[in-house]
């Protein structure tokens, strides 16, 4: 099993979740994070609105899904397809990380392994 962790623009989450469903990846969870990559941040006001500060960390959404080893590539493809703002991709579109998972357990039934995800 692998954990696939995709950090994407918040406004693309719905599209990514839908795309994952299409490739049969139903189980997943989403967290709100703030992150920094090569993307420039935003300028926001501080105090009474006469000063501004550059915020380098932008709100992003992290989608995590644990999948069987065999599904990794198709899931990555689905995410890339849905997370890009436009056909060519833009800075800030996000990152995907893949890491090993040793075991998965379904709480309700106690099932383990690929059957549990």
């Amino acid at each position: 099993m692998k954990k696939i962790e995709a950090i994407v623009r918040p406004e693309r989450v719905q599209a990514v979740v839908d795309a994952l469903e299409k490739v049969g990846c139903v189980g997943l969870n989403v967290t709100q994070v703030t992150g920094r990559g090569r993307q420039k941040g935003v300028v926001v006001h501080t105090g009474r609105g006469v000063e501004t500060t550059q915020i380098n960390m932008l709100p992003k959404s992290r989608i995590e899904t644990v999948v069987a080893d065999a599904d990794v590539e198709k899931v990555i493809e689905a995410i890339i397809g849905a997370a890009r703002t436009n056909a060519t991709g833009a800075i800030g579109d996000g990152k995907i990380f893949v890491s090993p998972v040793l075991e998965a357990i379904r709480v309700s039934s106690g099932e383990r392994g690929d059957a549990a995800i």
Partner: protein, 413 residues
């Protein structure tokens, strides 16, 4: 003048409105700070209600408004003695309302003034010391200045300084005290890059409640439901809108983005500046005053940011500068057609009475100097007393005052 139920009805409503301003301020300030200090910031204002009301009934009103001498009242109204249903001569005029109406209405001003100061030392001032500061400051700073300006006996009233609803007593006073307080309590930790307000809707809510309540503040100061009250209402509204618009536009040119906090701040600056003028100027004067308020207070904040003074929520820039501009502008734009006074009283520069500026300047200088010195002294003493002190510990500040002082978090699941 006999007591009139209509006038009394308006002063009752106005008093409720002015009381409501203090929670409005609590939200205005509470939204501007970081989430970990929202409750401590709100509590400064909320406890000002609790503490000042008790002290005002017991001795504050007497010190400020009983006849006394030119500088301070006496003890004849202690515990609201003699504050009853009979009409009372205020500043040489008998208003058609019971003495009790005046005393209640004035109480609301005494609450919000020290609450205004708290913006200067928010996010780091010790709560226990603050409660004592409230009592001392009301007694030794607010009550005397109120006496000077509004008591028929007061020396600033005597020289003909115009202050309809409290530009000197409330705003310059609070703004200057804020400088002393910010200075003595020192800079907050870790705010080099400024603070992003944690809840801007609360800032707007607070500013809106302030705007709403300020109609009581200014139009209630007519102590009657008459044309003067209506004019005060109109010019308050006009100056506020103009200042909000000005600040928003200036911030737009200056920072490329029109800030919502800026628009709200502009509104407050306009409310401040029109306060002393609201019984004396017409709508076009109000446009000028509002425009100046938006401009000067905006740049006041700009300047403050470049200093080392951590007046956290810019009390001086808004209330100090706004108040001074308002006091001087009153000397410029006061017209006898609105003030209804006997010239040269109530006549400003544009009506051909430049000497009025002199009285205004003296009022500004006296308030400025007195408030600065006495506030400084009070805080120095409090800092010195073992067990008190002005500032929380570094750990408490880092954790946030809500958890460390009040044992609460603003928000939970």
């Amino acid at each position: 003048m006999p007591i009139d139920a209509g006038a009394t009805a308006w002063v009752l409503a106005a008093s409720a409105l002015v009381l409501f301003m203090t929670p409005g301020l609590a939200f205005f300030y509470g939204g501007l700070v970081r989430g970990k200090n929202v409750l401590s910031t709100i509590m400064y204002s909320f406890m000002a209600m609790a503490v000042i009301i008790v002290a005002w009934v017991l001795w504050g009103y007497s010190l400020a408004f009983s006849p006394g001498n030119n500088f301070i009242g006496d003890l004849s109204f202690i515990g609201f003695q003699e504050v009853d249903g009979r009409a009372y001569e205020v500043a040489g005029v008998v208003a058609p309302i019971p003495h009790a109406a005046y005393a209640i209405f004035q109480l609301m001003f005494a609450i919000i003034t020290p609450a205004l100061i708290t913006g200067a030392f928010a996010e780091r001032f010790k709560f226990s010391t603050y409660l004592i500061f409230l009592v001392l400051w009301m007694t030794f700073v607010y009550a005397p200045i109120a006496h000077w300006v509004w008591s028929g006996n007061g020396w600033l009233f005597g020289i003909g300084a115009l202050d309809f609803a409290g530009g000197t007593v409330v705003h310059i006073n609070a703004g200057v005290a804020a400088v002393a307080a910010a200075w003595l309590v020192g800079r907050r930790r870790g705010v080099e890059h400024g603070v992003v307000p944690h809840n801007v809707p609360f800032v707007i809510l607070g500013a809106s409640i302030l705007w709403f309540g300020w109609f009581g503040f200014n139009a209630g100061s007519a102590l009657n439901a008459n044309y003067q009250a209506l004019n005060a209402f109109l010019v308050t509204n006009t100056a506020t809108a103009t200042a909000a618009l000005t600040w928003a536009l200036v911030s737009w040119f200056h920072t490329r983005k029109p800030s919502a906090v800026g628009a709200a701040s502009g509104a407050v600056a306009g409310l401040v500046a029109i306060t002393p003028a609201s019984g004396f100027v017409g709508p076009l004067g109000a446009l000028a005053i509002g425009f100046g308020a938006g401009l000067f207070c905006y740049f006041g904040v700009q300047l403050r940011v470049r200093t080392k003074l951590d007046d956290a929520l810019d009390v001086f820039a808004v209330h100090g500068i706004g108040g001074i501009w308002g006091a001087l502008a009153t000397g410029i734009f006061a017209v006898v057609s609105v003030s209804g006074l006997t010239p040269p009283a109530g006549v400003g520069v544009i009506d051909g009475h430049p000497a009025q500026m002199w009285a205004q300047l003296r009022a500004v200088a006296a308030t400025f100097g007195y408030s600065l010195v006495v506030t400084f002294a009070i805080l120095k003493v409090l800092d010195f007393i073992p067990g008190l002190g002005l500032r929380v510990t570094e750990k408490e500040e880092d954790t946030g005052l809500d958890v460390s002082l009040h044992g609460e978090r603003g928000y939970a699941e």
